[in-house]
Amino acid sequence: MNLMKDRLLLIIFACVVLAAPLIFAPTGAAYPDLLQRFAIYGIFAIGFNILFGLTGYLSFGHAAFLGVGSYSAVWMFKLLSMNIVPALLLSIVIAGVFSLLIGYISLRRSGIYFSILTLALAQMCYNLAYSVLTPLTNGETGLQLRLDDPRILDAAGDAGSLPSTNFFGLEMKEVFWNPTIFGYDLQFNWGYYVCALLLILSFWISIRIFRSPFGLILRAVKTNQTRLNYTGINSRPYTLAAFVISGMFAGLAGGLLATMDPLAGAERMQWTVGGEVVLMVVLGGMGTLSGPVLGAVFIKYFENIFSKINDGVLHGWFAIMPEWIENAMVLIVSPFVGKGWHLTLGALFMIVVIFLPGGLVEGAQKIGAKLSGANKRAAKVGIE
């Protein structure tokens, strides 16, 4: 039935992801760092959606797993090797262990109590990482590579500079191709493609989970936990499994952040980062497959591109207008861009929660259905 549609969705998704350096070129976002962030936070959001989108358990603490993943990866780079494979594996494992622990404690409660528990536990992790655990985390500055790290598996490199993260010799930050297409200078680098493949893999896993009995039961947890228990299903291990899976996704994302840029800062564990992933999932469309990735791209785009629009750039935009209109426009727009990007994001988020509980995906479907006049339900099945 919708098996074909899933496959189609996966193929379209993979194509978009693989061609992202080209697709995003007109938006000014097609540079390796931001593209990797899109992919990484996409993975984070996909994982979070497995917990929040399916079971409805709202965790504010997933930033802790992101941070733990990053710390593990950087430690692996410091001690063992600059190859990303052991680093990512350790990130996933450690984040899994952490999420098992935190999940076990916080899933004893549900509803807002669960949210507050995750918030409290994550905030504890952040506070500890920022100060008292400094030997492990390097506190305020964040854990970085140093010239004198042991790196027992790697051959001694050039003494004067830090080695780069690599995937069996392919350096993550190496730009392997930079053609000019349609007048845009494009940059294709290994790091992005490593992240992209993992994103596609994560997307595939998430499709499989959504369509599995496991996913069905998670959705049942969200709609009626009482009935589920009286149906003979023990909901707690299911939610715990979902929690751990999403924690491992978060760990993978954290590890990838470290492979892109081998620095792990404590801010990654702050509850506001946990709040950010909530924003991503809700903005994109919770419980949908592609929504979380969309939301992640949206927010990271805001953070990195919108925040750089200063008055000078605005004057450039409106330069064709008469000067007084230009100035007026700059005056009107500037509180919402550049340093005001938080404001725009908050307002947008509210609008989505109020009018589009299904997020941007739902909005797109509504528009799509209106435009094509096609059967709305069919469209919904397609994306879900």
Partner: protein, 448 residues
């Protein structure tokens, strides 16, 4: 694929550092020729101003941006030229840098290492910035400095006061104009000993993170050398907003001095609490109880309001200085924006001029050339007397100001008065001082 191989070969040939694949594609072809990241090809050269625009330090960031914009104007020959006229080096002609007009991009560090690096990275990868500068905390400065080192661009740190920036985390591509915890302590201790006597018992409240620790360590060592006794050092969590429970036990501890090793919101709140508790009206051990804030900034003093009155601290620069450079800068900034500049504004303005000047003297934008021109560079005319960028650790050495909260401010900007301009010689330290040990500059990286 063939391109990749070529790049690598090119790298090996020029002997540039390994691991520089971060090439900037827009300019890659040119970059390969020039041999360094983001070599400017057109008629402009792009600088990246990476400052906090959201978060608690946003106002400091805004002041930094004002100063950057002013500096760019002056470099491009607009405005009154500001400190370019008083600067001892006369290379800058008001025609941009090396004849290229100065353009800039701005970004938001959010005062988070992560966000700051993302923002700097986008300036390097997307906008082709050849130099990154700015920031308002040591964590951010160290993180971005590391990034610039790897990417092969120059980093001119903004506000960063931790010893580590030019201590254990120093980098060949990074330079700091701002002073540091050690220098604050070295300048402050003699004044304190003179004002309050040598037989004093100090109680420290210290922000529980790297900057706080190095600051506390420095001030404790410096005051103990003057004969003070340290009663206690209590670490306060970064997220504390109400310091009353930390301040309450102070009076009863036998201490007669309270040292607040806090910055930003922490400092405003802890000082406010300390004054509320009436500590300064008390007599302990037969002496008047005093409070010291080692690192001051005018914006913070403004946040703490009348509580700063009479409280000693140190600062990098203040607009009431009467040397020609400072006067020219205050005049220029004041005409432009209607109020006097902060020390953050002064620092970043100087750094922009210094960078431009170094390019001119080196005759290239190549970070290694620029770094070489900056290393050991001696100059004057930018406030703070005769200044040197030390080659060994890229720390700037200059006069440090000991200031006191003004008792009768005449305006909302007139909050601090300069008590003493501590000469540079008094705050200097050997590059291998134990408080700065543990790191290596490494070698300059020009990227590729």
């Amino acid at each position: 694929m063939s391109k990749l191989i070529m790049n690598r070969r090119g790298l090996l040939k020029t002997g540039a550092a390994v691991g520089a694949g971060m090439a900037m594609p827009t300019i890659l072809t040119a970059a390969s020729h020039a041999g360094y990241t983001n070599a400017p090809t057109g008629s402009t050269v792009t600088l990246g101003f990476n400052v906090p625009q959201t978060g608690a330090y946003a106002d400091e960031g805004a002041d930094e941006l004002r100063a950057y914009e002013l500096a760019v104007k002056h470099l491009n020959g607009q405005g009154d030229g500001g400190m370019m006229n008083t600067f001892s080096s006369k290379e800058l002609k008001g025609n941009g840098i090396l004849g290229k007009e100065v353009a800039f991009v701005t970004g938001d560090t959010q005062t988070k290492s992560d966000a700051a690096r993302a923002s700097a990275q986008s300036m390097i990868q997307k906008d082709g910035a050849v130099m990154i500068t700015g920031g308002s905390s040591s964590g951010v400065a160290i993180a971005v400095q590391g990034l610039c080192q790897e990417a092969g661009v120059i980093f001119m740190a903004g506000l960063t006061h931790s010893n580590d920036t030019t201590g254990k985390d120093k980098k060949a591509n990074g330079f700091r104009h701002f002073f540091n915890g050690y220098m604050s302590a070295a300048a402050l201790a003699p004044v304190l000993a003179e004002m309050y006597g040598e037989d004093r018992n100090a109680y420290h409240l210290t922000a529980d993170y790297t900057w706080g620790w190095t600051q506390q360590e420095s001030i404790q060592a410096a005051t103990e050398a003057k004969g003070w006794n340290t009663v206690a050092n209590v670490l306060t969590p970064l997220t504390t907003t109400d310091f009353s429970s930390y301040v309450a036990p102070v009076l009863n501890s036998g201490a007669d001095i309270l040292v607040l090793n806090h910055y930003g919101g922490n400092m405003i709140n802890s000082l406010t609490s300390a004054v509320q508790f009436g500590l300064r009206d008390k007599m302990v051990n037969g002496k008047n109880f005093e409070i010291v804030v080692p690192l001051y900034s005018r914006l913070m003093a403004r946040g703490a309001g009348e509580n700063v009155k009479g409280i000693f601290g140190s600062t990098n620069w203040h607009w009431s200085l009467q040397d020609e450079g400072s006067k020219a800068f205050v005049q220029s900034f004041g005409q432009e924006y209607g109020f006097p500049p902060s020390q953050a504004a002064h620092t970043v303005y100087c750094q922009t001029l210094l960078y431009a000047d170094a390019c001119e003297r080196a005759g290239t934008h190549n970070p290694c050339g620029v770094a070489e021109a900056l290393e050991g560079f001696k100059f004057s005319g930018l406030g703070n007397g005769d200044v040197e960028y030390r080659a060994e650790d890229h720390q700037c050495f200059k006069d440090v100001l000991v200031v006191k909260g003004k008792e009768n401010p005449t305006s909302e900007f007139d909050l601090l008065e300069v008590v003493q301009v501590t000469p540079r010689a008094q705050v200097e330290y050997p590059a291998d001082h134990p408080m700065f040990a543990g790191g290596a500059l490494g070698s300059c990286n020009a990227g590729g």
